[in-house]
Each structure stands twice: as C-alpha cells, then as structure tokens.
Amino acid sequence: MLKLVDLVKAYRTEEVETTALNSVNIHVRDGEFVAIMGPSGCGKSSLLNIVGMLDTPSSGQYWFNGEEVSKYGERKLADIRKKNIGFIFQSFNLIDELTVFENVELALLYHDIPARERKERVKAALEKVNIGHRESHLPQQLSGGQQQRVAIARAVVAKPKMLLADEPTGNLDSANGDEVMRMLTELNAEGTTIVMVTHSMPHAQYATRIINLFDGQVVAENLRAA
C-alpha cells in the first residue's frame, strides 16, 4: 500500500531547523493495521501528515500504490487523498454547523455521487457505527464517543483503501475508546488498511504491527499476531 524510503521532514524557522523525521523507512502492506507509538515530539504526527498527503516530505520517497507521490502538487495530492484515504482525529473535527448526517455526507460531496446514493451510503455508514438514530443532531448534542463514531463514519463512507487515525481514542474514556478500537478492528478485518498513531499501549495491541518512533527515527518494529 505504501512505502517510505529515507523520508526526511525538517521544519525551518528563521534561525532554527528542526528535523521531525530523519531517514524513515516504512513499508505498509495492503490490509495491515499498523500502530505508531512514541513519546510527544517524536514525529508521529509529522509522519501521519505526510502519509495522509496533508504535508510533503523535505526529501526521500513516498510510494503510494506503486506511485511516487512525494513531488506531487497540492491538486494531485488532493485527488489521490480524496479517492484513497480516510482520516480520524483525536479531536473529532466535526463541523459544528452541520448535522451528523451532513457531516458524514460531506465526505461524499466532493466525489460526484448522486444524492440518492449518498443518502444510502451515509445511512449505512451511520448504522455501521451505531449512530443512525442521531443523524439529525448537531455535534454539540453528542457525547465524545458518539462524536468519534460519527467521525469514523465520515472517514469510511467514501470507502477509502486506507484509514489514518491520529490518536482516535485520546479524547475518550476507556469504554468509548475500546468501542472505537473494536470498530477499527472490524474495518481492518473487512480489508481496510489502517495506520494509527496512539499513546495507549492497550489500544496499540489491536494493531498487527507496532512501529516505535523516537527523535524522528524508527527505533523498533514489533509484528503482532492478529
């Protein structure tokens, strides 16, 4: 699915250059569930942003589905992203002005899908995360766990090949956290590749592989039995 070769990401301010990722080499195969762990500031989020094509590397290669995308411009990246990648965030990032249904539908609006089909797919996605009964509510009217379920529905409604989750349980209590992890495992079982950044070892255990980052470098990789 994706391959990072000697990937470097450096941030420059006027006087200081900070290397967030230093010669990272990672290979994620189709259908894998990879957890990325590491202390704060180790480069987890930078890595996820590049993998999600929200940011570009300073150097190195990024192969996605056999295509080298590291030099692509924003327009091309947006197109690949739209077709292949779904995102789940720690802070849910639902749009306050839109209802649950509309938030999920948003992910289909940029895909030229007819309204009727959109409706069906949104309803199916919402049912899948057990939040169908709340489709006309606004995000503020939901609990944190419910909001994250909506976010998951939004991430999967366009049927992406890969799901990127940035600390998806970080803002949730343990019961809701476990529920979210169960859903991710289910999605993975259905064939979706998942790359997840997490601080929680118990939640990392749901993954098939754990990659540890430290100071921008991959320091350990543990393959886990599924």
Binding site: L54, D55, Y110, D166
Partner: protein, 827 residues
C-alpha cells in the same frame, strides 16, 4: 454541493449574529447609499434624452470675453442669430428661439404674475413634447395661441377642459389655449409653463430684433441628418466673425466676433455644462463624478468591513476548511464556497438596501426636487444593474477572505484545532482600517470645507444691505416715468421705509447690461467695457451701499440726471455737439481701477463718454465712488460698473425698510401699489431671500455630501465595532491574565482603545494631504474663497478618533469588567 454551501453559510450567519448583523447592515447601508447616489447620477446624466432627435438638436452657447473682465460662458444669444444661421449654414435644418418674459394673466377678477416663454414656430417641431391636448405641429401657428402645462391649465381652468379656452394676457387680445403638455419632467433643462408664439412678443422685441449686441434669448437648432455637430461647432466662431456686424458707436467700434465666441452644445450635454443664464441650474460633470466617487468609496468601506471581519473570524472557519480539504475539496472549490458566501451576504444586504432605498426615496426625491424612479418591475435595467452591483461588491469583498481561508494547512489546523492561522492578516486588517478611516476623514474634511465655503458665501459682506431690503419686481416699463416717480416717492414717504429707488437691475437677478466707455484722449480702438446700471436718486441709500469718495446723486441738482434725448428730426446730421449730453455718473472701486485712476478721490470730477440711445454720446462726470458690491454670487468676480440716473431701464424698485414692524410696512406698500396699479399683482421679495436662493442648490449639494459622508463614517464604525468585539473576544484570556496580574479596568480599556487608535491616527496622515489637495483645487474655482484652516483637518481627525474611541471603548469596558476567572476559563 451548492445546497451544502448554502446551508453552512446560512447556519454560520445565524450562529454569529453580531458578525452577520454588522456585515449585512454595513452592506445594506452602503448599497442603499450607493443606489441613492447612482439614482441621482443617472437622473443628472439623462437630461433631455427623451427628445427623439436629441442627437441633432443643439443650443448655441457663447463665450464672452469683455475687455478687462474674466471670461463668461452663457447659453443666451442674440435675436438675429437664428435667422442668420438658417440662411448662412446649410447644415441647419430648423431653428427656434426662446424668449422669457413676464406676463400678467387676469382670470376671474384676479391677476397673476407669470413667467412665459415666447418661441419660434419650429420649436414644437424640433422638440417633440407630448401633447395631452391639441396638435403639436400646429399649436403655435396662430399669433394669439398659447400652450400650457397641465399644472397651469389646472390653475386657470380647474377641472374644465382648457383646450379652446382663452386667457387675458397683459390686457392684449385674448390668447386661445391650443395645447396642453405635461409638466416639465425633472430631467430636462427646460423650465416651461406657458408657451406663446414669438409673434406675441414681436412688438416688444422690435427694438432689438436686429441688434447683434443684445443677448436676450436661447437659440436652438436642429441639424440635417448626418451632419457632424462637432465640426459645425468648430466652424461657428469663424462664421460668426464674418456674419455678426461690427457695432459702430460714438465711443468706439465693437467687433462682436472678437468678444463673443459661439459654439454648439448638444441637447444631451446642456445640463452637464453649467453656464450663466440656464433655465434650470446645471450640474457639472465634475460634480457628478464626485458623487459617483463618493458612492464607490462608501461601497469600498462596506466591502472592507466584510473583508476584515471575514479574515478576523478565519479561525472559526479553519476547522471546517481543513476538514473539507481532508475529505477531498480542492482549493478552488473552497474559494468558490467563500466567494459564494460573500455573494449571499451581499444579496441579503441588497434586499435590505432595496427596502432602505424605497423608504428613503420619497424624502430624497423631495429634497432633490426631482422625480427619481426606483421600480424593479418597470425598469428593465434596474434589476440587472443591482445584481451587477452586488456581484462586484460580493466578489471584491469575498475574494481576499476566500484566498486567505482556503490557504489553511489542514494538518496543523486539525491537530491543534486553532493553530496555523492568523499571522500576517492582522496587519492587513489594520491597513484596511487605515484605508476606511482615511476615506472617512477625507470626506469629513471635504464636507466641512464645502459647508465652510457655503457659509462664507451666504454670510460674506456683499457690500450692500440685504436684510430688510424689499425688491418690487416686474415694475411695469410701459408706465410713464412720472408715475414711476410718483410710486417711488409714495413708497419713500411711508413711515417704515428708509429709502426707495427704481433700478434697472438688482443684485442676484442675473441680468447684465454692459457699455463701451471712452476716456478723453483714448484711442478709439481701446475698448473699456463697464457694467451699466440705470438707477434712481436714492439708490445708494436704498441698497445701503458705502460711499468711499465724492457724493451721491442729489435730486436737488438736476444736472446729475441725463437730459432727455434730442429729437433726431430736429438735429442736423453730423451735429455731434447737439447729441452730446452731459450728466453725472457714479462708479464702483473696480471701475476706478479699470479706468486707471490713481485713487477713488482721483476719479472724482473726471469725465468719460458713453454711447447714448440715439447714437449720440453721454459725457459723464464722475461724482462719487461706491465700495465694490456683489451683483452676482460671491463665487464670481465683481465687474467694474457705472451707475447713471436713467428711468428708461427701471425694472425693479428697491425699498429699504426700517427694522421692526416690517409686517405693517408691507401692508402699506401693498396698499400704495394697489392704488397705483390695481390690475397688476405686486410681485415682491426680500433681497436676502433672493441672495439665499442663489445658494439653494449649493446648500443641497453640501447637505447631500454631508449625509453621505456621515453614512460612510457610520459604516466604517460598524466595521471597527465588529473588529473590536472580535479582538476583545480573542484576547479574553490575555485580559484575564492581565487582571490577575493587577491591571485595572482602565488599563485594559486603554490597551484596547490604543490598539484601534493607531490605525485612525495613521489614517490622518493619508487623509490630510489628499483632502488638502482636492479641496484647495475645488476652492480655486471661486473668485472669493475661504482659506484652508489646518485646525479643520485636525478637528476631523479628532472627531474620527473620538468616534473610534466611543465605538471600541464601550466594548473594551464591558470585557474589562468581566471577572478574570471567566476569562481564564476561556478556551
């Protein structure tokens, strides 16, 4: 997708009510202001376009350069011109002259003074006025016919059909109504109510019918189809030089072609080309453009509000933008979304502005004395024009925020939910606030200067007593001199009257009579033209003029008066001595200078010659000099003038009243008049009213300017209020911390107020030089003008600052008074 955009936009509007209200109100007021100004501009530029042949109808206008006088432009011409043009210029198809005259109409035992216009037969063939009754082509064929406007017809015939009825005009043969036309629309330069054929005044005009020196009518021509009016206009001066005769007078030859330069003004341009002697006040292009510019500036201020508030609130939309990007929106889609939102807001503003315009239109039309129409259903251009306006404002206001908002980095925004935005746009916002206030301050300065000049003009010492001076107008010229004298004497004897005097013209009446003067020993080619006034014994007292040298006319010295003209039959040809009449003359200070005397005193006792009406010569001795006084608006220079006792030319009587009990005196004057002229209504007005009337239009222009400037400032303040409220909200945490650390409410208010004082102070630095330059240019157009006072500029700046303080301060005080704990819980 569109539905989603619309939904998000509407929900955002509802959620951020203050922001939406400020934007929509600002846009609505801005658009309404703009629409009102543009309605005015459209009306001003639509004059006379409703006449079918407007492209080939022209009016002859003249530039006059009298020796020693500044150049004058006027729309009047000489009676023989029309026929000469028809004969000498093959391009001319038809001509028509229009001559104004005062008439007295008697109806049902009552007499009314009216202003009528006598026109040539082709007038209604050139100008296709709608005839409600009667036949346009033949209406004026009969010398005793008359055409009335609807209002006039109603005035004299109430609800009856006026067509075919007769009116008694000036006691001559009854005039038969042969046509009724609608009242003049507001967008024509014509001011017509009663129209008669030229034949009706031919007798009165006989004396000047062939006189190329008497400027007394308007001349219109219709050119043959395909004729280039501009080219013909360019040829007019040369043609005029060869056509207009040289006037030979005993005091020198006057080459009219050198004094008068004719040109053709297309009918459509007449209203926007101000000259003297227009039937209705004209508006210069410069003035129209100024108002259009104010409209654009007001809109710019409203658009800036939108830009500023949209970018300031960007953080609140950052997450939405980022999520949209993450799920696949391209930057151009986001840009379109935000421009769309801006358009939506503008359209809401537009709908409100239409309501505002509808509300304001009746008062506005009444104020401008115009019939301005604003009807979306009957005016096919209006709808598209308004939508176009909204489109321009929406895109102009929305483009920058759209580019700014669409540029967010979703990775950073979504991680921290609020990071990665703000930055450089804060400086731009302040720069835009500077622009808004620079515009506002400039408009404030401009308004003050325009008002200042107006007040100066209205209150300037005009050199005569305008208070309590009554002008009895339309003094019957036909009346013999003895009765004139009796009337003036009877008026002078009244208790409440200081002095009374007949006069050929009075200040502010716009008429002018000039004469060629020759100093003894001067070269006959050397022309010295002075304005000539025929006055009465007490004219200095009646006008309250200041005598600066010599003496006034003295009725006990008969030699002060010109002797009666000799009977030409009794004087042998060539006997110039018999046709030389000695008399006394008074002049003004400008004439002292023009005639080259060393001082006012030096002029006394000196002599010069002026042509007499029988081609003889008046040899005049200067007996007195009066201080300069204004004949016309103070905007015009004071011409050199001479005054002689000459009752032939009296048209007005000046009556200076004693202050107090004026009403009683007016009643007595009315009685004296009625006793002498029972069939002629007394037409009187106070001189100061007439003087003020000269400035009515300027006063209106100033008021309009002030109102629109006020609105501009209001909109700018709305934006500042929005920005201040946003800043206060954003700095809540900082404010809380400052308070925890010991800051007082006053400290906090000062902090916020200072933040918004800076752009206003900087705005002054831009506004002052710009306003100074333009207003100095404007004032240079006046012969008598105020000086630009730096204090005025400082005051405008101070007012802007105070308004800004008041706007921001209230907000700051509220935020500063909140408990610090509330502030610290923020976020």
């Amino acid at each position: 997708m569109l539905k989603n955009y619309l939904m998000v936009a509407l929900r955002n509007l509802l959620k951020h009510k203050l922001y939406s209200a400020i934007n929509v109100t600002g846009l609505a007021v801005g658009l309404a202001t703009c629409v009102l100004i543009l309605l005015f501009v459209r009306n001003e530029t639509s004059y006379d376009r409703f006449f079918t042949d407007n492209d080939r109808i022209y009016q002859v206008a003249f530039k006059a350069q009298l020796p020693g006088r500044q150049v004058d432009h006027f729309a009047a011409s000489m009676l023989p011109l029309a026929a000469a043009m028809k004969e000498g210029l093959p391009e001319v198809e038809m001509t028509a002259r229009v001559i104004q005259n005062s008439v007295v109409i008697k109806q049902g035992g009552e007499s009314f003074s009216e202003t009528a216009r006598a026109v040539d037969p082709d007038f209604f063939r050139i100008f296709d006025f709608t005839f409600l009754r009667g036949d346009r082509m033949t209406a004026l064929d009969d010398p005793n016919s008359i055409v009335l406007t609807e209002s006039m017809a109603r005035k004299y015939f109430k609800d009856q059909d006026a067509l075919g009825q007769t009116l008694d005009i000036d006691g001559s043969a009854p005039a038969k109504v042969t046509g009724i036309i609608p009242d003049m629309p507001s967008n024509t330069h014509f001011d017509l109510e009663i129209i008669r054929p030229y034949a009706a005044v031919a007798q009165a005009m006989r004396g000047i019918e062939t006189n190329w020196g008497a400027v007394c009518c308007e001349t219109y021509v219709r050119l043959k189809p395909g004729v280039d009016g501009k080219a013909l206009s360019d040829r007019m001066p040369a043609w005029f030089k060869t056509t207009a005769p040289t006037l030979n007078s005993p005091t020198g030859n006057v080459v009219l072609g050198e004094i008068f330069t004719p040109r053709l003004r297309n009918l459509k341009d007449i209203h926007t080309d101000p000259v003297m002697t227009s039937m209705r006040p004209a508006t210069s292009y410069a003035e129209i453009i100024t108002f259009a510019a104010v409209a654009a500036l007001v809109l710019a201020i409203a658009s800036i509000n939108f830009m500023n508030l949209a970018t300031a609130r960007a953080t609140q939309r950052a997450r939405e933008v980022s999520v949209r990007k993450v799920v696949g929106a391209s930057r151009s889609q986001i840009i379109m979304q935000f421009i769309g939102e801006s358009l939506l807001l503008t359209v809401i503003g537009l709908v409100l502005s239409i309501a505002l315009v509808e509300l304001a239109l009746p008062a506005y039309s009444a104020f401008l004395d115009k019939k301005l129409s604003f009807n979306l259903f009957t005016d096919p251009l209006l709808g598209p024009a308004l939508l176009g306006l909204a489109l321009v404002v929406g895109v102009a206001g929305g483009a920058y925020p759209a580019f700014f908002l669409s540029g967010f980095n979703p990775a950073r925004v979504l991680k921290g939910a609020s990071s990665g935005v703000g930055g450089g746009s804060g400086r731009l916002r302040m720069a835009l606030v500077v622009v808004q206030f620079a515009i506002s301050i400039s408009l404030m300065v401009a308004t003050s200067v325009v008002y200042g000049q107006l007040l100066y003009a209205q209150n300037k010492n005009l050199g005569f007593e305008k208070e309590n001076t009554l002008v009895l107008r339309g003094f019957p010229r036909s009346v013999d001199q003895a009765r004139q004298q009796t009337l003036v004497e009877a008026l002078a004897k009244l208790d409440g009257v200081v002095a009374a005097a007949g006069s050929s013209s009075t200040p502010g009446d716009g008429s002018e009579n000039n004469t060629n003067v020759r100093l003894p020993g001067a070269n006959p080619d050397q022309m010295l033209v002075l304005r000539q006034g025929g006055v009465d014994w007490d004219f200095v007292k009646a006008l309250g003029l200041q005598l600066v040298a010599g003496r006034e006319f003295d009725r006990n010295r008969p030699a002060d008066q010109l002797p009666p003209l000799a009977d030409p039959a009794q004087v042998p040809a060539g006997d110039t001595a018999a046709r030389t009449y000695a008399g006394a003359v008074m002049i003004n200070e400008a004439a002292v200078k023009r005639l080259g005397f060393a001082s006012n005193e030096d002029a006394i006792g000196k002599q010069f010659e002026v042509g007499a009406d029988d081609d003889g010569t008046n040899k005049l001795t200067i007996i007195g000099v009066v201080a300069d006084f204004h004949f016309r608006s103070v905007h015009d220079p004071i011409p050199p003038a001479l005054f002689v006792i000459n009752r032939d030319r009296f048209s007005d009587v000046l009556v200076r009243l004693k202050p107090g009990n004026v009403q009683k005196t007016l009643v007595e004057i009315e009685r004296v008049w009625r006793d002498m002229f029972p069939n002629r209504p007394l037409n009187r007005e106070f001189l100061d009213d007439r003087i003020q009337a000269q400035y009515v239009r300027e006063a209106k222009t100033s008021q309009m300017f002030a109102a629109f400037s006020g609105l501009a400032i209001l909109i700018a303040c709305l934006g500042l209020f929005g920005l201040a409220s946003f800043t206060a909200e954003r700095r809540t945490k900082e404010i809380g911390l400052r308070k925890v650390l010991g800051a007082s409410v006053m400290d906090i208010v000062r902090l916020l107020v200072w933040q918004f004082s800076k752009p206003v102070l900087v705005a002054n630095l831009i506004a002052w030089p710009v306003a100074w330059y333009f207003m100095d240019q404007w004032l240079n157009g006046f012969s008598f003008r105020i000086d630009l006072n730096p204090l005025l500029f400082v005051s405008a700046g101070a007012v802007a600052l105070l308004i800004a303080w008041a706007t921001v301060g209230l907000h700051a005080a509220r935020v500063a008074q909140a408990k610090p704990v509330t502030a610290l819980r923020y976020e």
